[in-house]
Amino acid sequence: MTVSVSPAAGQSSTPYAAAPELPDILPPVRVRHGLAGFIFRYPTMAVGMAILILMLAMAVFAPLLGTVDPTALALSKRTREPSAEFWFGTDAFGRDIYSRVCYGARVSLLVGFAVAVCASIIGLTIGLVSGYMRALDGVIMRVMDGLMSIPPILLAIALMALTRASVQNVILAITIAEIPRVSRLVRGVVLSLREQPYVDAAIAAGTTTPMIILRHILPNTIAPLTVQATYICGSAMIIESILSFIGAGTPPIIPSWGNIMADGRTLWQVKPYIIFFPAIFLSITVLAVNLMGDGLRDALDPRMAKRL
């Protein structure tokens, strides 16, 4: 699937005086297509995506990966070191850590994706309204300033202290903490877009405000928003693990990477592997998401790519 393009390709048979043929010193430009081309052009995004797909597969097919019930207690098999029987060892209640890590991927990925999607949609709506309707802008942005002044992890902790521990509430709490940043970003983009001549043209042509937002403003916010959503996904996974780690997140009965590490907290000096394995999986997953974000940013905004 490669196409060779060389400056001297093909003999010209035109009746006009032909220019002297260029010496064939330029190497042929290889234009790669398909998967190989994608990997060649965006190596970081490709690596990130590959890891993420693996993690996703692990989460979906957790029951088929030689796991046992991740919540099954076996007090006679407490705190076993990693071995052929227990790949990642067992925790203080004799639960198999390998199984818990596989199932734990479900919570982390779910929280990451759900927060990214929810925060983007809500933040996009708020940002569009605030950026395009000047009357509401002042009020909305003061509220967002206030929300942004509360450190996100503390805001999530305060929300979790008032609600029952559940995965939905974790998603809700992190989403609320992430919304102000998204709406700020969208508002900034909208403010610069609404000064564009084509928006003036649309107004002059009598386009209604909702149509202008939908047809002329919205499509241009998608690129920066996608990049931001990727980073939010990564940060949501970290916040979920922190919340679970300090006991204010996913209920302890559900295995999540943060919960496994919380269980290993008291034993970390003697049994460091309980924390080590979920920590590695969590870090690699977040790294993959962030690499994808960097790749997307470079692909969607080449000007930014040179600067950061």
Partner: protein, 313 residues
């Protein structure tokens, strides 16, 4: 100049008011019945009713808010439900370790990250630059407690260079105090370093492409004075801004770091409050941290004038 400072100070008042309103309203907008959640599953209806009364949930929102704000303006953050002590007193007892940790982290992070960013920008595209930027992506991806446990495991348990856990007050001497804070501040500073180094590199790259840098080179100035005097000074505003914004990361991370290194600070207090569902205490801590954050950023806004004499609003 004074009118600018005055205007900036006045502008933070509505922000703080909104923070207070929001933190107060959480009790009302949280899904479900907060009184029942705080009371726990074993509580009798009587207990739930008692908690509802002590939180003031049985009275109208505005009346409660007015009372609460009035108390807040008198420096009263309410009473802890578990210990019965004033929240301000509990915070006062625990604030020294947290402030020490954040201060040491701040100094360490800034003195490591800024030179890293400058170096990366100076050697842009080289392996140094690539390595530093790759490290910064890793810095954004590894949660603070993972870094904390790894550092504690290697440098305290295996190599036995530094104490594993705990905190010694500054009054017991400088070195014992610092010794206990080195590993926690590296752990806590990890993300912060990544953030500052990235912004420093980006801003420096922009400044280094300016005409006056070429002029400086043309007149034969040394690289060091070009980088640190001509370029870094002009890149200062965005760098200082991100240092201020990053304080939020430090505050959130401190809660976790303290739990990893068993530091008896506000983070421990927060975690105890979560376990006991002591909402007035959580509310007080969140409010105090948010106010600190707002005030730090106000100070930074005012510092812009010193950093960049062109800024005269």
């Amino acid at each position: 100049m004074f009118s600018y400072i005055l205007r900036r100070v006045l502008a933070t008042i509505p922000v703080m008011a909104i923070v207070a309103l929001f933190v107060f309203s959480l009790l009302y907008i949280a899904p479900g019945d907060p009184a029942a959640v705080i009371a726990g599953d074993q509580a009798s209806p009587d207990d739930v009713e008692k908690i509802r009364r002590s939180l003031g949930l049985d009275r109208p929102f505005l009346v409660r808010f007015a009372e609460w704000t009035w108390q807040l303006l008198h420096g009263n953050l309410g009473t802890s439900m578990f210990t019965g002590l004033p929240v301000t007193e509990l915070i006062r007892q625990r604030i020294e370790p947290t402030l020490s940790l954040m201060l040491v982290t701040l100094i360490l992070a800034v003195s490591a990250a800024v030179p890293m960013g400058v170096l990366a920008a100076w050697k842009v595209g080289s392996w140094v630059d690539r390595t530093l930027m790759a490290l910064s992506v890793v810095g954004f991806s590894v949660p603070v407690f993972v870094v904390g446990y790894m550092l504690a495991y290697w440098f305290a348990l295996i190599l036995d260079w530094l104490p594993v856990q705990g905190y010694t007050p500054l009054s017991k001497g400088f070195w014992p105090w610092l010794e206990n804070l080195i590993l926690p501040s590296i752990a806590l500073g990890f993300v912060y370093i990544a953030l500052i180094a990235r912004i420093t590199r980006a801003t420096m790259l922009e400044v280094l492409s300016q005409d006056y840098i070429r002029t400086a080179r043309a007149k034969g100035l040394g690289e060091r004075s070009i980088l640190f005097i001509h370029a870094l000074k002009n890149a200062a505003v965005p760098i200082v801004t991100v240092i201020g914004i990053g304080i939020a990361l430090l505050i959130g991370g401190a809660v976790v770091t303290e739990s990893v290194f068993a530091i008896p600070g506000l983070g421990r207090l927060t975690i105890d409050a979560i376990v006991r569902r002591d909402y007035p205490l959580i509310q007080g801590i969140v409010l105090m941290f948010s106010f600190i954050y707002v005030l730090v950023n106000l100070a930074i806004d005012i510092a812009y004038m010193a950093l960049d004499p062109r800024i005269r609003y």
